[in-house]
Amino acid sequence: MILRLIITNLLRHRVRTLMSIAGIASSVAAMLTVVTILQGAVGMFSGLLASDSESIVFEKNVSDLFFSEVPGNALGQIAGWPMVEHADAVVFGIVSSHDQPVITCFGITSQDARLRKATWIEGSAAEFRSEGQAIVLGERAAGFLHAHRGDTVPVGHGFFPVAGVIRTSNGFEDGGVFMPLKAAQQFFHKDGSSVITVKLRKAEEVGAFKARIAATYPNLTALENQEFDRTYSQFRILKATAWAVGGCGLLLGGFGIANTMLMSVFSRIREIAILRVNGFSRLQVASLVLSEATVLSMIGAVLGLGAGSVLLIAMKYIPALHGYVDASLQPAVLLLVLLLALLTGIAGALYPAFHAMRIRAVEALRFE
């Protein structure tokens, strides 16, 4: 019966109802898209670091790994510790070309897992030398640099021969340039590396490893990959930005709900008075208004999730975004977006519900 009242009211002003649902749906779609893309970007970046490793060593208190400076002698020492299975130094750098404002460069050794795991489209891992100058391009980078194996391409202020082209599932890698470690150090004027990624022989030795890093290198810190994802300030800023942008969108949707419910209450004063006269308590009237808002929010949220998912899938097939958009929706994100949409709808209906509670039945019915 309550559901009947809710549906009757929502159907009574179909356009208004549809506009509210559209408002919430577009807000949810925007939030889902922004959050998923940025989380995907964060995931990709952390994926870069976690390639066949579970810990990362970098300079303490740097705001961005591009500014991290790990001493050159640290790699040899850390790799020699009994608990370490292998350690890889990585230099991160950013250059630009005439039509690409950002090209990520990775200075790596020939043993790096990225080269082993990638699908080689041109050339092979054996042709990449840690000491040489020849670089390997991600597939998308090869596309926008119009380069093939054997060509020489401009990267930043230098020119490098191309040893091969690889395909990876990571957008940064796919649009990136892989330089031999020494060439990258020279190119980016680094004595050491940006980070050292470490795989331990036994996962349970991570505590001891972190303690040894702290004792041996007071200026460095070691974090497990998940720990790094949680604490790295750039990731936190990105995630906060995503939720803030999405939250603003949802706020607008909430205002839409508030407007709709307020209009609904204003146009139903007589109906609410009739309910009151027939035994509905103030709380029941408020619940009715809040339930209507909840139904609107839920329909909007579900439609928004659908629209957002379609949008993400479509973006995945845009060549320029290849590898940058991770369209796999995380259950936690879905749940949070649904919950936020629900809370926004309810929050938007609070004042209308309060107004409905205060309707004096006798006054409303007097003007017959």
Binding site: M1, I274, L275, N278, R360
Partner: protein, 242 residues
């Protein structure tokens, strides 16, 4: 049915207790500029039917609203079944399940069916759906509406709408029925039949009826008729004397 139907046709249950009582009831609007009720003292015995008569604006409807807890007095006390009413009082919400209202205009929700309209008080009271529907069928049968249960209100005639309003008022088996010009919007013939049904139901269920009306013929069919003028109870006349 004749409008002169006498009281013995509707033997009320013997008044054994006070159903409602008002003491020194004052009510004004526009910050005291318009005094509507001026010290009303009224005692309604359980099971009796009372008609409040008087010209428009004399305070009949206001008195009903106050007794039914729809509005609040500026001064004075109201007791329904011995319980005092006060603004914000939880007793007020409980009271709404014990008091049935019938208005001049039916005040039904036009988008809902007869059945759904009648279910509203039951929903408010938290009655189980099956039980509530059974009650609607029973009342609709008594009011001759059983064939119209699934009809939307727009499809009903004026008399059917008012009978539906009576069904709805009786849904929660109220002890007190407050009727404000219950047949005021109906033609004479329909009004007579609807009022007849109302009185029969009141008598059969042993309800207490407090009704505001202009219609002295209808008033005469109640056990007591009380005349109101300018917010005061003027006189109490036995039926037939007016």
């Amino acid at each position: 049915m004749s409008q002169n139907r006498s009281l013995e046709h509707f033997p009320a249950s013997a008044p054994t207790a006070v159903m409602a009582e008002t003491r020194g009831l004052w009510k004004s609007y526009d910050e005291g500029a318009i005094e509507v009720l001026r010290g009303i003292d009224l005692t309604v015995q359980t099971g009796e039917s009372i008609a409040l008569c008087g010209p428009s604006g004399c305070g009949k409807s206001t008195l009903l609203h106050l007794v039914g807890g729809l509005d609040f007095a500026d001064k004075g006390e109201i007791f329904v079944e011995g319980k005092p009413l006060a603004d914000g009082n939880r007793a007020l919400d409980l009271l709404r399940h014990q008091v049935g209202f019938v208005f001049q205009l039916h005040n039904l929700l036009p988008d809902l069916t007869l059945m759904e309209n009648c279910l509203i008080p039951a929903v408010a009271a938290g009655t189980r759906r099956a039980m509530a529907e059974e009650r609607v069928r029973e009342l609709a049968s008594r009011m001759g509406l059983e064939a119209r249960l699934g009809s939307r209100i727009q499809k009903l005639s004026g008399g059917e709408r008012q009978r539906t309003a009576i069904c709805r008022a009786l849904m929660n088996r109220p002890h007190l029925l407050l009727a404000d010009e219950p047949t005021g919007s109906l033609d004479a013939k329909t009004a007579d039949s609807v009022f007849q049904l109302l009185l029969e139901t009141v008598a059969a269920d042993g309800l207490t009826l407090l009704m505001a009306t202009h219609d002295r013929a209808l008033a005469a069919r109640c056990q007591r008729t009380i005349e109101m003028r300018d917010g005061r109870l003027l006189e109490e006349a036995s039926y037939g004397s007016l």
